[in-house]
């Protein structure tokens, strides 16, 4: 049985969500087009409205501020391109501020916009992955239309100080977009107090299905977006296309369940501490990201002296990630690590472990045992470990000025 510690890549669908989605797909519960003006259509529309209300309640916002999309990637694209296109249509210059550690769906979109008509400022982070809110304030210009900052980083688990970022943006005539794909159900996110204008959400990172997400758009003057997809005018004209009733229904229930489990964060934090302590006992293990700023469900570690891909291959019974799963197929070095000043050499030894709702204490102990056994074997075969045994420091071996904090 595989020990699944890759919740940051995707979460298993909660069985209650799967069961509910099955009811929406079967019989006459919600098979019709929710835009159709007849009985079956109205039943489907009711299911969509229920889902919208559930997502909205989770975040403390109004249902009419939730626009369903195909996922957080589309939501990020809609937020960035939507604001930029509206500015262009209005004949205004468009400057976008973002951070160097954002998800590829943000960074690649702003790069594309930069080639078209926008200017972009990519803010650096410190060695612990933190964004200085003062740098946001300093980057704002009269032409700044949007500041896009993620809530929780998917590779390191580092949380940005959104309240401080929002305060900086509030002093300016710009919108704040938050990619919250990684945080719903894991970190508090109350949009009734946080002054974000646009927030991207993902279904499959919160025990819902893949293929569905949402963009929160605050109902206030000046929050105007051009749609990416045009056609039937669904989702208030912002996202045309027949709404996938079972998908949004699943996401709605998943969000409601995530919000209702208030003890979960504390349970995950306890498991995460146990995992970190177990890995620390293996020796020469280092943790990325400032401890106070990290969400407990993501633990990225440097396993000094071994290549993380070799360790992964040696423990097929353990599901983990090497860097970001989104980057894994192309094998590119992680832009997040580079932005944190971590050279590619050290990045080779980084393994990401992420915990979730179905992680148990015995699974954590088994993971520690599997990783510990693989570490011993790979280190015995490692020329870097041999150098270390002869007295060389990891800083010299990896060519870094300092190693991250010991686990």
């Amino acid at each position: 049985m595989t020990v699944y510690l890759d919740y940051a890549a995707t979460t298993p669908v909660d069985p209650r969500v799967a069961e509910y989605m099955a009811t929406l797909l079967q019989g006459d519960a919600a098979y019709a087009n929710p835009a159709s003006d007849h009985g079956p259509g109205r039943r489907a529309a009711e299911a969509v409205a229920l889902a919208r209300g559930r997502v909205a309640r989770t975040l403390g916002v109004a249902p009419g501020e939730i626009y369903f999309t195909s996922g957080a990637t589309e939501a990020n694209n809609l937020a960035l391109r939507g604001v930029a296109a509206f500015a262009r249509r209005a004949g205004r210059d468009c400057h976008i501020v973002t951070a160097a550690t954002e998800h590829a769906s943000v960074l690649e979109t702003v790069s594309a916009l930069e080639r078209e008509h926008c200017t972009v400022t990519r803010l650096p982070v410190d060695g612990d992955g933190r964004l200085d809110p003062r740098s946001v304030r300093d980057a704002l210009r009269p032409q700044t239309r949007l500041v896009s900052v993620m809530h929780v980083n998917n590779e390191t688990g580092v949380r940005h100080d959104l309240e401080a970022v929002a305060a900086a943006v509030a002093e300016h005539d710009a919108l704040l977009h938050v990619d919250a794909a990684q945080s719903v159900g894991k970190e508090p996110l109350d949009l009734s107090t946080l002054q974000a204008d646009l927030v991207s959400l993902s279904g499959h990172k919160a025990y819902g299905p893949k293929g569905v997400g949402a963009l929160f758009v605050r109902d206030a003057p000046g929050r105007r977006l051009e749609p990416l997809l045009r056609g039937g005018g669904q989702e208030g004209g912002l996202r045309s296309g027949t709404v996938a009733t079972h998908q949004v229904g699943g996401m709605g229930l998943a969000f409601e369940l995530a919000a209702g489990d208030r003890a979960e964060r504390s349970r995950i934090a306890t498991l995460s501490r146990r995992l970190q302590a177990g890995l620390a006992a293996c020796g020469d293990v280092y943790v990325l990201g400032d401890a106070a700023s990290r969400t407990p469900h993501i633990l990225s570690v440097v396993l000094a002296g071994v290549h993380a891909r070799a360790l992964q291959a040696l423990v097929p019974g353990l599901a983990t990630s090497v860097g970001s799963a989104c980057n894994a197929p192309n094998g590119k070095p992680s832009h997040v690590m580079r932005a944190m000043g971590i050279p590619d050499a050290l990045a080779q030894s980084i393994l990401r472990l992420s915990l979730g709702r179905f992680t148990t204490e015995p699974q954590v102990d088994e993971a520690v045992s599997l990783i510990g056994g693989a570490l011993r074997r790979l280190r015995e075969a490692s020329p870097l470990w041999r150098e270390r045994q002869r007295g060389a420091g990891w800083e010299a071996i990896y060519g870094v000025s300092r190693m991250p904090a010991a686990a």
């Binding site: 002296g305 071994v306 290549h307 891909r309 070799a310 291959a313 040696l314 050279p343 590619d344 050499a345 080779q348 074997r377 790979l378 015995e380 075969a381 490692s382 020329p383 870097l384 041999r386 071996i397 990896y398 060519g399």
Partner: protein
């Protein structure tokens, strides 16, 4: 020799790792770099121009282990002259790795050549 080569299992490859530190007349050749993703050390001992023992240490992806293990298996009993002809493409074929990991095989080739150079010097 069969043309069909099965990918070398990582467990099996690690089981073949080791060093000849302390063995009389053994030499080591090192290649690669941590920043490039693989570091390989090949240890050789030879008698009368024939390689008696070949072992390796490796830091890298599974393909680096597979190529290094395949190289050491091939090198044992090989004449030094034949060993000089062992190149990365042949090592990749013996290890059963894909062309996308040829870089790992080339690092092993460089480590073998460095060790052969040390034997001859």
């Amino acid at each position: 020799m069969s043309d069909t080569v099965l990918p070398l299992d990582l467990e099996e490859a690690i089981g073949r790792s080791g060093s000849l530190s302390g063995v009389d007349h053994a030499v080591v050749g090192r290649a690669g770099g941590v920043g490039r993703g693989s570091v390989v050390e090949v240890y050789l001992s030879a008698r009368q121009a024939v390689i008696e023992r070949a072992e390796f240490l490796a830091f890298g992806a599974p393909e680096a282990f597979a190529c290094a293990a395949a190289a050491c298996e091939a090198l044992q009993g090989m004449t030094l002259a034949s060993a000089r002809d062992l190149d990365g493409l042949e090592l990749a074929r013996r290890a059963g790795i894909g062309s996308q990991a040829l870089g790992e095989a080339l690092v092993v080739e460089d480590a073998v050549k460095a060790a052969l150079g040390a034997l001859e010097s």
